[in-house]
């Protein structure tokens, strides 16, 4: 089975700063790590390989230093890695990003399963995974918490919902986005780390992946960011004191203030 895992490098902090002019993330000076949700995608890809055989190719779109994330993925058991990198990709929104990644996956060629983390911890959109499947015109199952079985060109998975889970059967090839309930990512092995050190990472630019230039980067991105801000923290609640009748009266007054 050929498995493709898409990952993203994100700043290692929950307190990301935003450029007030371009309204995009400031990444300078912040340590980059593999997006936490993508760690589950890598682990699941490697587990599928261990269960069903085959190979895992890990892909990321990003600046040259994203190579580190790919090497880490190799130390965790991925076999091959592709860095899709080009200045033309700068400013891509989720549509352009998923288009670019889908072009790269087409160039990889044969694939049965594509796995992504459910969302990235910086942008939090959860759109790139589904976007890739749309560009490739293959089925997608989001929020997968368990891959029960893959056989006869079909996959049976559990998809997490707010109240429980759905069992979904889908033909291959298909794309899954995974949640953290799906597994517990392993610690790298020494042999894996040594392999990663000497691993050759394929580097592809816009031409290599046959991408249509008008669909790339800021120009190819239909999204216009008007403003990004951190919502103000919620204020603590107020406890009303007194007997039931007093509380009811106070509550009535408060509601009146809010509604009227």
């Amino acid at each position: 089975m050929n498995i493709v895992v898409c990952i993203k490098q994100v700043p290692n902090t929950t307190d990301v700063k935003i450029d007030p002019v371009t309204n995009t993330l400031i990444r300078d000076g912040v340590e980059s790590v593999i997006n936490p949700f993508d760690a589950y995608a890598i682990e699941e890809g490697v587990r599928l390989k261990e269960r069903f055989g085959g190979k895992v190719t890990v892909v990321t779109m990003g600046p040259p230093q994203a190579e580190n994330a790919l090497k880490e993925a190799i130390s965790l058991g991925c076999d091959e890695a592709v860095l899709v990198s080009d200045r033309k990709f700068a400013g891509s929104d989720t549509w352009a990003t998923s288009y670019t990644l889908s072009c790269a996956i087409k160039k990889i060629g044969v694939f049965d399963v594509i796995i992504c983390g459910k969302q990235a911890s910086d942008g939090d959109t959860a759109q790139v995974g589904p976007g890739i499947s749309t560009h490739l015109d293959i089925p997608q199952v989001t929020y997968v918490k368990k891959i029960e079985d893959i056989s006869n060109s079909k996959a049976k998975v559990e998809r997490m919902t707010e109240e429980g889970y759905d069992i979904v059967e889908t033909p291959l090839p298909c794309l899954f986005t995974v949640v953290k309930e799906i597994n517990s990512p392993r610690i790298p092995s020494l042999k894996g780390m040594m392999k990663a050190k000497s691993a050759k990472i394929a580097k592809w630019n816009a031409e290599d992946i046959d991408a249509d230039p008008k669909n790339l980067g800021l120009e190819g991105s239909p999204t216009r960011v008007v403003k990004i801000f951190t919502p103000p923290p919620r204020k603590g609640g107020e406890m009303l004191k007194g007997d039931a009748a007093e509380i009811a009266e106070k509550l009535g007054e408060l509601l009146k203030d809010i509604i009227l």
């Binding site: 392993r186 610690i187 790298p188 092995s189 020494l190 042999k191 780390m193 040594m194």
Partner: protein
């Protein structure tokens, strides 16, 4: 202090540290309480290739030496000195094969140990023979192509969990220590039994049991080296493994210091963190200095062993003696810094003090280490004249 580790050693250290922090720390208290053997950590260590770091590449390992073994023992012991023994006790049980085994024995046993598929144990101690290895009562009687083992080994680390046992038994009682021989015994051989699991002061997640041999038939092919070499095999094994005990002690001490420093910054008395009191500061400064001195000695000894130096007993004993005494002192002081909280089992620090004690006792008490050191001093002095 920068010990100028090479790239691979740094990789090993960081990986062992990650395992200690992410996998061992969260469960150390639980296993201390239940006294169970932490197979889940053996699995993690084996998946990460750490069991093979001191085993040559031709036998499926990574080709490192005693220094690499020490680095891992230290890092794991920072989180739990007991769980670390699954690793360090295996190294002790493996050294007889590594040092004196023939190629066939190495091919048969080392790859599984390197992969972490099999845990190992070393059996020398008996009820009446510990530091006095000449008092061993377990016998190995030659019978055609086999040896028949009878006797009981006591306080064997990893016993019952391990698959591979290296055993010292007497092939000729009349010769005393020169009548001892070393054997490799598989857990599933007929006549191998285990006594009850011992309840201990510390390193409680480590399995300690009797290993009982009753007419246990061991093939001649499992004799390590030659008949009569058992005592030498044991002594050379200890020369290589004592830096590992020292590293375990070092890790326990370092782990305790880190907890104590962290606690001192959070604990407020008289309106300020206790880390602002000079009395506490000086304690911590002494602890850190002693630990660094111990580390310098342990790493230097490990490097000396790895260089192929012939006489390493003195240095190996010094490292074990010094690091374990430091561990005991540092962990007692760490509990003191925690005060009343430190005495409570709800807090992690008292466990470090309990775990530290064994490092002064096993693989030769610190009194025996002093004997070894003194004997070597005197021998060197005679040679010089």
């Amino acid at each position: 202090m920068d010990y100028l580790l090479n790239e691979q050693q740094v990789m090993i250290r960081d990986l062992a540290r990650q395992i200690a922090n992410e996998k061992i720390k969260p469960i150390a208290a639980k296993y201390d309480e239940t006294e169970e053997f932490a197979w889940e950590i053996v699995k993690v260590l084996s998946d990460s290739d750490l069991f093979g770091i001191y085993i040559p590449e031709e036998y499926g390992g990574l080709g490192g030496g005693v220094l690499e073994m020490c680095i891992v023992a230290e890092e794991l012991s920072k989180a739990c000195g007991g769980i670390a023994l699954g690793f360090a006790g295996t190294a002790l049980g493996t050294y007889p094969i590594l040092l004196y085994g023939n190629d066939e024995q190495k091919k048969r046993y080392l790859p599984d140990i390197a992969k972490g598929k099999k845990v190992a144990a070393f059996c020398i101690t008996e009820a009446e023979a510990g530091s006095d290895a000449g008092g061993i009562k377990t016998t190995a009687k030659k019978d055609g192509d086999n040896y028949i083992l009878n006797g009981t080994k006591q306080w064997i680390t990893n016993a019952g969990e391990a698959e591979v046992y290296t055993v010292i038994a007497m092939t000729d009682k009349t010769k005393g220590a020169r009548g001892a021989s070393a054997f490799i015994v598989d857990k599933n051989m007929k006549g191998v039994d285990f006594g009850k699991k011992e309840k201990k002061l510390g390193i409680r997640s480590s399995a300690t049991r009797e290993v009982i041999f009753t007419d246990c038939k061991v093939p001649k092919a499992n004799l390590i080296s030659k008949e009569g070499m058992g005592f030498i095999v044991a002594m050379k094994t200890f020369d290589n493994s004592r830096p590992g005990v020292a590293a375990q002690a070092l890790g326990i001490a370092q782990g305790a210091l880190e907890l104590a420093v962290d606690y001192s910054r959070k604990r407020v008395q008289f309106g300020q963190p206790i880390s602002s009191f000079q009395a506490v500061q000086h304690m911590m400064a002494d602890m850190a200095t002693q630990i660094e001195a111990a580390r310098a000695l342990v790493y230097a000894t490990a490097r000396m062993v790895d260089s192929g130096a012939k006489n390493i007993s003195k240095e190996s004993s010094m490292a074990k003696l010094f690091a374990s005494d430091v561990a005991m002192k540092v962990t007692v002081d760490a509990v003191q810094i925690f005060g009343g909280y430190g005495y409570m089992r709800e807090y992690p620090i008292e466990k470090y003090m309990r775990d530290a004690k064994i490092t002064q006792i096993y693989e030769g008490t610190n009194q025996v280490q002093r004997n070894v050191i003194a004997a070597n001093l005197i021998k060197e002095s005679i040679k010089e004249k």
